[in-house]
Symmetry: C2
Subunit: 253 residues, 2 copies
């Protein structure tokens, strides 16, 4: 239960994944350490519980009341895995010569962060780098919003914005800032998207720090046809990353 | 305060818009009926309060405690407008010969519904049609997620799915269902996107009802390059509608 608190997650290097989909993804990724289930869920998800046993994971039947305390959703699923945290060092990602990175900078809202991880997984990014002062991707609401993608795509957490961007530039990775007032229209950015690219996305309320946007190689805007002033973070990331993947995979016609 | 409840909203035809951005959009759209503000916000947003006075809207200074009851956010903004509801009849939208419509079918979560309205506004759809059994777009969480777009784009609410789709078809509007297993790849759907189009998006948990998907003229899938099984509703809608707008405005190269 203490793992609902970020301080405890930091201390133990563990976190909670709730529900059958998240637990299955955790088992697939070999990140599950212990599994707790109610009698009802143990019956309904007997296959998953069997897989956990076979993998040598400690399995604990618990009462519905305990499950409610373990789960932090309003309707607790009665199936919760304690997992090893997923984040990897930046060097691990960079050694694999990434060609598409998603970099949320200072993202604060866990639902947005989780949705971004899910989008990034869907479009096939090589990693998501949580840069600067961001929400913990192991936060329960974030884990749920990823719908399992937290276990699919490498996640990096690093605080030093300037140093990280310098390292990426030194490796020849083009830095693109998603910015409402960017000088490049995404519709006409195809030539910028061909090589290794890192997309910088700003905080949901305040956008990207102007200094970070200025540090990028290009600032890319999504053309707004209606009267909305901007798009929300996950929608903007979905459009930028999907367009990048479309150009990358040569299906623009 | 009663307008936080959907039954009361239905009875009065009114709803609440909180915060400076939403109140400004409500004033622009001439939907604000009454404005409540704390002393602090009346000072900080004197321009908006002045506009409300000039427009003949009743303005009520309230205590911080009353403002907390009026607002349903955790940090109430101290500025709340009672507004006339925004939805218009389907016929009004159809008489304007729409060429791009977004149709969430059975959408239940207010945050998703609001984000969809914001995305639809940004890409320039002619209207958003809430079809079937959906969340009330005047729900407080939905209003906030639209970031003002609720007042920009025409909203229709209609329950009869089959009759509505028949009317759209009879007008020559192509029905495209966003579906993970669709037979058309969005990357290769350009010729389908040139004429009048209505996009059908399913419930966030259960997807589109198979009967509704089968009723559409085509089912369109977003190519998944990674290991995510699907995209969330707003991200999928952002990608489909943005691609539609890009093709429509002839900027595919």
């Amino acid at each position: 239960v203490k793992l609902h608190r970020s301080a405890q997650r930091r201390k133990t290097g563990e976190f909670l994944a709730e529900g059958a989909n998240a637990v299955e993804a955790a088992l697939d990724a070999r990140h599950a350490l212990r599994l707790f289930h109610t009698a009802e869920l143990g019956h309904r998800e007997a296959g998953l519980v069997g897989r956990a046993h076979a993998a040598g994971i400690e399995v604990y039947p618990v009462s519905a009341k305990s499950a409610r305390q373990l789960g932090d959703t309003i309707t607790p699923p009665g199936l919760v895995a304690v997992c090893r945290q997923v984040d990897v060092p930046l060097d691990t990602v960079l050694h694999a010569l990434p060609t598409m990175l998603a970099i949320p900078v200072g993202v604060a809202e866990p639902g947005n962060a989780g949705t971004l991880i899910r989008v990034a997984d869907a479009v096939g990014v090589d990693a998501v780098i949580f840069l600067g002062d961001t929400v913990d991707p192991h936060n329960g609401k974030c884990v749920r919003a990823t719908a399992g993608s937290l276990f699919h795509v490498p996640i990096v957490r690093t605080h030093d914005v300037a140093a990280t961007l310098d390292v990426l530039s030194a490796l020849g990775i083009r830095l693109l800032a998603a910015a409402a007032d960017g000088e490049v229209d995404l519709d006409h950015a195809e030539e910028l998207l061909a090589g290794p690219v890192a997309w910088l996305f700003g905080n949901e309320a305040h956008g990207l720090d102007p200094a970070v946007a200025a540090r990028a190689d290009h600032r890319v805007r999504i053309r707004i046809h209606g009267r909305a002033e901007s798009l929300n973070l996950a929608a903007a990331a979905a459009i930028c990353l999907y367009t990048n993947a479309r150009v990358r995979h040569g299906s623009s016609g």
